[in-house]
Amino acid sequence: MNQLDKELQLIKAKVNAMWELVTAQVSSAREALETANHDLARRVVKRDKKVNTYDSKIDRMCENFFALYNPVAVDLRWVLATLKINANLERIGDSAEGIAQQVREIEGTFSPELLEITRLPEMFTAAQDMLQDAFRAFDDQDTTLARELILRDKLLNKINGKKDRILVKYIQAHPDQIDHCLKMSSVLQKLERIGDQVTNIAEEVIFYVDAKMIKHKSMKKKTKGKKDKPDTGEAPSV
């Protein structure tokens, strides 16, 4: 393995570690919310600093890589994609922290009825699965999976889109639950954002593997998955 590949491996190892941490943050935030575990929520908030440290470190590693190795073609696309994936992971970390923050402020637990009508558990599961599959797509250079992820984000948008009407009705029936409903609205919004951020990651995977910029294309074009690769070369083996 040449030095350039070794450097890419070092960046990749750091991104993998960050991905693992962010995934754990989202899982812990969910557990804290479902069990009203304020201590766990506090730990999630505290651990976000570690996510931020990873973010800064990966940014710096990418900056050094650009400056020292002048990457081209697939190496250039990989580092550009990694920079953006890093930024999105950091924001997913912020969303997990935000959810944990809501848990810390809430008194008691959300009622089972509220959880059911807002489809929060379903949304959580979808977001967590998407985050894990995004890692697989990145790791395996699997653009088919990346395109699927873009489609799967629709579910999160749909659930989030219905939340206002559902919560207004619930508040009318349970005026003492306004605080819980506002917090629930915030949590749902954050999960929807996680879906958007995973979509951004999936677009970066497609950019790096297929050399296609799809972020401003229509949903149909994004998910069509034509294999008319315009570029060059294998993806780097990182």
Partner: protein
């Protein structure tokens, strides 16, 4: 731990003041790159480390140069011994008109070693170290001139390594080579630093970025900036360094 340390080194070629008070320390088992525009003094400074400048008339050197804590300009220093300790690889491959084997064995024979088994073992080890063994092991008796330019340069590196120096100086070692051969030399430099201290002069800033741990920027005989390569290439402190590495002058 420092391998090379210089204090207030000045060098004059007659009236021309080529090096102006260079003070710096190069760490052991690291690659240090010297960069700067032509005539900035980087090669002159490099050649101070094995006293190659002694061969030029009207040269005056002042200051102190310590290699492995020994003052190499002290009166009791024998230049032949110094050059066994400080090997050098030049811009153009310069194999001797001998076989591949004899090129690598040359320094050992000059050193008075005649033990055949010892020489064979050292030649193989040096060629392996220079990442050339697999390409030449079946033609060791062939002329060195039959090798490609890149192979000849690695042969010259093997010849340097055979006498087991502590420091290897490289004066633009890949500037006469094609990109593939250059990449091989650069990979080799990464490998060699485990066992040697390497100082490389290069006009190729990307090469300095790829291979070195520390970089020194020279301009008009002065050391302008010296630090970790990552820092020099991402956030240099001096505006002249910034202008040079971004291609705005030089």
């Amino acid at each position: 731990m420092n391998s090379i340390e210089t204090k207030d080194v000045h060098l004059h070629y007659g009236d021309f003041h080529a090096l102006k008070g260079i003070t710096m320390a190069m760490k052991k088992n690291q690659v240090t790159a010297f960069i700067g525009p032509s005539g900035c003094g980087k090669s002159t400074y490099l050649r101070c480390f094995n006293r190659m400048n002694d061969l030029i008339d009207n040269v005056k050197i002042t200051g102190e140069i310590l290699i492995d804590e020994v003052d190499i300009y002290a009166k009791n220093i024998r230049v032949d011994d110094l050059r066994k300790h400080v090997g050098m690889v030049f811009q153009k491959p310069n194999p001797f008109p001998k076989s591949i084997f004899e090129n690598v064995a040359y320094g050992l024979r000059v050193d008075g070693i005649s033990d055949k088994a010892f020489i064979e073992e050292r030649v193989e080890r040096s060629l392996r170290h220079a990442a050339l063994w697999d390409e030449v092991k079946d033609k060791l008796k062939k002329s060195a001139f039959e090798l490609s330019g890149g192979q000849q340069q690695r042969l010259c590196i093997a010849r340097t390594l055979a006498i087991e120096p502590s420091v290897v100086l490289m004066d633009e070692p890949a500037s006469a080579l094609d990109p593939i051969s250059t990449a091989k030399i650069e990979e080799l430099i990464h490998e060699l630093k485990k066992d040697y201290t390497i100082v490389i002069v290069t006009h190729n800033m990307q090469q300095a970025g790829r291979v070195s741990d520390s970089t020194a920027f020279f301009y008009l005989g002065e050391l302008i900036e010296y630090g970790k390569t990552k820092t020099i290439f991402t956030s240099p402190k001096d505006e002249r360094t910034q202008n040079y590495i971004t291609g705005r002058f030089g």
